[in-house]
């Protein structure tokens, strides 16, 4: 495949100012049990070429299935044709990069595809059974997924690399229904559970079966729980909900293509100006955010991005001040950055690379353990699992809903509360952050359905964080 792509780039160089190509082979398996019955058992394999060219300042990208040279050449021809059909534009400069050759494979102790299907079903059946053992559970769901992606990339700039990533994970969910009311609890998260760039050892560590009774009990208890009280209070976010807060109000907001207006037609723009790097106050001094494509186990980790730029660890916010953004070679060049942040990724082989998040995380603070963080709260609310999310197209005004909340009374977690929601404005919300737990409480959460781009592409990314305390937040009940 390296030879096919190298020859393709030789051919493209005669027609385009710049070209790159990747061949992707993807294998994905999703297995789910629902109420004692197989809900999903999908095995999907695909492979093909994605070829991108720039001609007369116009980009063209074409995707073709297959693995032979003729498919690659056919994709190149279509990429040139769609580029040529567009109105002429000024040539888009790319940030310089020392492109190299190399190979990389992400670590995985146990190949998830080596685990017999029967073993996966046995695990899910046990989890499903444990969920349904709780009276009042109407729908029980247990699922795992496994994914291997093998990619070869080449560009006219001289890059030629191969990388292989392995991901897997799973989750459980219980739903209780009564008198027209429906309440759910999930573990470890509501969005695709907990997925990591790791082998099957990650699924084993999740211990889905052991967590099922608690999840089921909480789902049923939510039916009788009091609603989350309305008003301004102290809010502690943890786990998935903190990850999604980072994702929506920081990660997307610092994507440079959005900041420059290139996603205005779909994903939106950003309240963050490109000239705010180094000066814009994003939040309190307790807020430090890092985007790290080298983070072990992160779904946003890679050795090279889809422009051949090495994955990097970038300071995004330090002590509340914006320090960096997520960029591609094109967007980085537009604002004069010395190099791309290495954030260009495309889904599979049939989507072109665009600016995507790497693992954007809240750095641990010095708040100690969760108990120590809570100790400083007279009255408040704790939320760790997401149910609904919505934010405006500038990533400024948001409203999130949790599956459940716990009241905080006199420094301790108290009653379970139903239907919690909270709302805020991004810089004010992050300015209200006054403490983050220490490193021992820091965890990764995953999102596998981050949509962006046209045609739409899904990205998989992780976010790290330790429980974080926000003061004077508008909280209520849906």
């Amino acid at each position: 495949m390296r030879e096919v792509l190298a020859k393709l780039m030789d051919s493209a160089a005669g027609h385009a100012e710049y070209a790159d190509a990747r061949h992707v082979r993807l294998r994905h398996e999703a297995v789910a049990m629902r109420n004692g019955e197989l809900d999903e058992l999908d095995s999907h394999e695909e492979e093909g070429f994605g070829v991108r060219v720039q001609v007369g300042g116009r980009w063209g990208f074409a995707a073709a299935a297959g693995s032979d040279a003729s498919s690659a050449e056919e994709a190149l021809a279509r990429a040139l044709a769609v580029a040529d059909a567009q109105p002429v534009a000024a040539t888009r400069r790319l940030a310089p990069e020392q492109l190299t050759e190399g190979r990389y494979a992400s670590p995985a102790d146990i190949d998830p595809f080596a685990i017999p299907l029967e073993d996966k079903l046995e695990l899910l059946t046990a989890a499903d059974t444990a969920l349904r053992a709780q009276p009042g559970v109407t729908v029980a769901l247990a699922y795992v997924e496994s994914r291997v992606e093998e990619k070869v990339f080449a560009s006219t700039g001289g890059a030629l690399y191969e990388q292989r990533t392995v991901e897997c994970g799973g989750g459980i969910e219980a739903t209780a229904v009564r008198d027209g009311d429906s309440q759910s609890r999930s573990y470890p998260a509501s969005h695709s559970g907990g997925i990591a760039q790791a082998g099957w050892e990650h699924v084993e560590a999740l211990d889905l079966v052991a967590n099922a009774p608690r999840v089921a009990e909480e789902a049923v208890a939510l039916l009788d729980a009091p609603p989350c009280p309305q008003g301004r209070t102290t809010l502690v976010l943890a786990g998935e909900q903190l990850g999604l807060q980072i994702h929506e109000s920081v990660g997307h907001a610092v994507e440079l293509d959005r900041m420059l207006g290139y996603e205005a037609s779909y994903a939106g723009t950003s309240w963050v100006p490109a000239d705010g790097i180094g000066t814009l106050r994003y939040g309190s001094e307790a807020m430090s955010i890092t985007a790290d494509a080298t983070l072990p186990r992160g779904l946003g980790s890679f050795r090279w991005d889809d422009e051949g730029v090495p994955g990097q660890k970038l300071a995004i916010v330090r002590e509340g001040v914006l320090q960096g953004v997520l960029s591609s070679r094109e967007s980085a060049a537009e604002i004069g950055l010395a190099r791309s942040g290495g954030c260009a990724r495309g889904e599979g082989f049939a989507r072109q690379p665009i600016v995507r998040m790497t693992n954007v995380s809240l750095d641990p603070g010095d708040g100690g353990s969760l108990d120590e963080l809570l100790a400083g709260i007279d009255r408040g609310v704790y939320i760790d699992t997401n149910r609904s999310w919505s934010i405006d197209s500038r990533r400024l005004h948001f409203q999130f809903g949790g599956q459940a909340a716990w009241e905080i009374v006199d420094g301790r977690l108290g009653r379970l509360l139903r239907d919690p929601v909270y709302a805020g404005v991004t810089p004010q919300f992050w300015a209200s952050l006054d403490a983050v737990c220490s490193a021992q409480e820091w965890r990764l959460t995953s999102l596998t359905d981050c949509g962006k781009g046209e045609p739409g592409q899904m990205a998989r990314v992780s976010h790290g964080g330790a429980p974080a305390r926000f003061r004077d937040v508008e909280v209520g009940s849906a």
């Binding site: 019955e37 695909e46 299935a65 769609v82 534009a89 229904v177 949509g451 739409g456």
Partner: protein, 458 residues
């Protein structure tokens, strides 16, 4: 015979004597993006997916590949069969009753040979036309133009042999004025000839250029005129919360126990009609069940929810699939309407809908719509790209975008009037394999829409 149907037959043959259903989907598409009044990205896709669903003791296993050679089909069939067998071995017998039997499928108008050529210069010309309008208007524009052809074939062990070809085209434009205000317009259709790039750009520019400083309104209840793009968002919320037959069967649906009762205004008549004149048609669902008009709400009374084979079996009794499977076997994806058609009313246009409103809000579209509480169809969303103040019966000036948190059924229950013209709206997102859907709906006026906050710059 079509190439895709031939391939579906080969895939079914690879499944041998298994109870199986093979689906072949070939997508050819072109999408041109633009931003800041220049082309930015262009994507051309040509890919074929072969999926085999195998049934064993009530369990369905599925496997998919985009390789079309004999070995790949055999491997795909083997994987699907082993998956189903493993599931059967893991527990009790499953409840999937079997793949549907053949049934007559009617033709539709959803294919245009010119569009199927996917000539990228058609899109390039559309961009040039839009750029000219934008330059004259003094706005920057961003957006997308796309056209696609999708050829789908199904062959099953029950004797289903079907193929269907559809084309679709979509263009949208967001104009940004020097003031920073934005305006949105879009069109969708079966054929590229149905897209008027100049008109779209002009409409978007007009919205962005409406004079006046944006007013920030207080949260609370407001009377609202929703354009069809926003109405379609309400309908998609109902697709997820109210019309999903699986949620209904499990008692989680918003219409559980409410079919046959009035749930919205008597002015609302809503169906799923895949061959309606201006929709994006399709002939059958993912299990080969023919598409047929399905009344969902008539004169405000909830009539039906949509089912695939699986959800119908769970509900039991005489319930049958309504032809709304998105996946054969009806598993990961739940049954969903794909062709909403909402009947129009007596108001000539949006201007007439605004006329009775002393003070209210005009909403072009909703953004980041998400369900907050499904049983109540409670959703939250932010207005975007054309939110205006209505004063004394007419649009007067921009309003800073606002967050709506309200019940979709509740809003439709408070509808006071409907526009006479139902238009096709689509989002053109196209995640995964291209599956063009749209809603044909009118603008409407509703009282007492609950706004939970302003999105004014802070």
């Amino acid at each position: 015979m079509s190439e895709t149907l031939d391939l579906a037959r080969q895939a079914l043959a690879a499944a041998g004597s298994d109870d199986a259903l093979a689906t072949v989907t070939r997508e050819r598409s072109t999408l041109l993006r633009f931003a800041r009044s220049r082309p930015t990205q262009a994507t051309s896709v040509d890919d074929t997916t072969i999926e085999i669903a195998a049934l064993h003791e009530g369990h369905v296993g599925r496997a998919a590949t985009n390789r079309t050679d004999r070995d790949a089909l055999a491997q795909c069939a083997r994987t699907a069969r082993l998956a189903a067998e493993a599931a059967a071995g893991a527990g009790e017998r499953g409840h999937f009753p079997g793949f549907p039997a053949p049934a007559p499928v009617r033709t539709h108008h959803g294919y245009d040979t010119t569009t199927a050529r996917l000539d990228p210069t058609t899109g390039g010309d559309a961009l040039r036309a839009a750029f000219e309008v934008a330059e004259r208007a003094g706005v920057e524009i961003g957006g997308a133009w796309t056209a696609g052809e999708v050829d789908t074939a199904i062959a099953s062990s029950t004797g289903v042999e079907l193929s269907d070809r559809v084309t679709d085209c979509f263009m949208k434009t967001i104009a940004t004025a020097a003031s920073g205000r934005t305006g949105y317009a879009a069109q969708a259709g079966v054929a590229t000839s149905s897209i008027d790039a100049r008109a779209i750009a002009q409409q978007a520019a007009d919205k962005a250029l409406l004079p006046g400083d944006p007013v920030a309104l207080e949260p609370g209840e407001h009377n609202v005129v929703f354009e069809p793009h926003a109405v379609a968002e309400l309908l998609w919320t109902l697709a997820e919360t109210a019309f999903d037959g699986l949620a209904h069967a499990e008692g989680r649906g918003a219409l559980t126990g409410r079919l046959g009762t009035r749930v919205v205004s008597p002015a609302i008549n809503l169906s799923d009609s895949a061959r309606f004149g201006s929709t994006l048609p399709r002939a059958f669902d993912a299990e080969g069940v023919p598409k047929a008009p399905l009344p969902l709400v008539q004169d405000g009374v909830a009539h039906r929810v949509v089912h695939d084979t699986r959800s119908a079996a769970i509900l039991g009794g005489a319930t049958a699939s309504t032809g709304h499977a998105l996946v054969a076997g009806g598993q990961a994806s739940r049954p969903r309407p794909a062709n909403f058609v909402m009947a129009g009313g007596g108001a000539a246009d949006e201007t007439e809908l605004c006329a009775p409103i002393e003070r209210g809000i005009y909403v072009t579209r909703l953004w980041y719509t998400n369900v907050v509480r499904a049983p109540e169809t409670l959703f939250t969303a932010v207005t975007r790209d054309g939110t205006f103040l209505i004063e004394d019966g007419r649009v007067t000036r921009p309003v800073a975008d606002m967050r709506i948190t309200d019940s979709a059924l509740g809003i439709l229950a408070r509808v006071q009037a409907l526009g006479s013209r139902s238009v096709l709206t689509a989002d053109g997102e196209f995640y995964g394999r291209r599956f063009a859907t749209g809603s044909v709906c009118p603008a409407l006026r509703a009282d007492g829409v609950r706004f939970s906050g302003s999105a004014a710059a802070s």
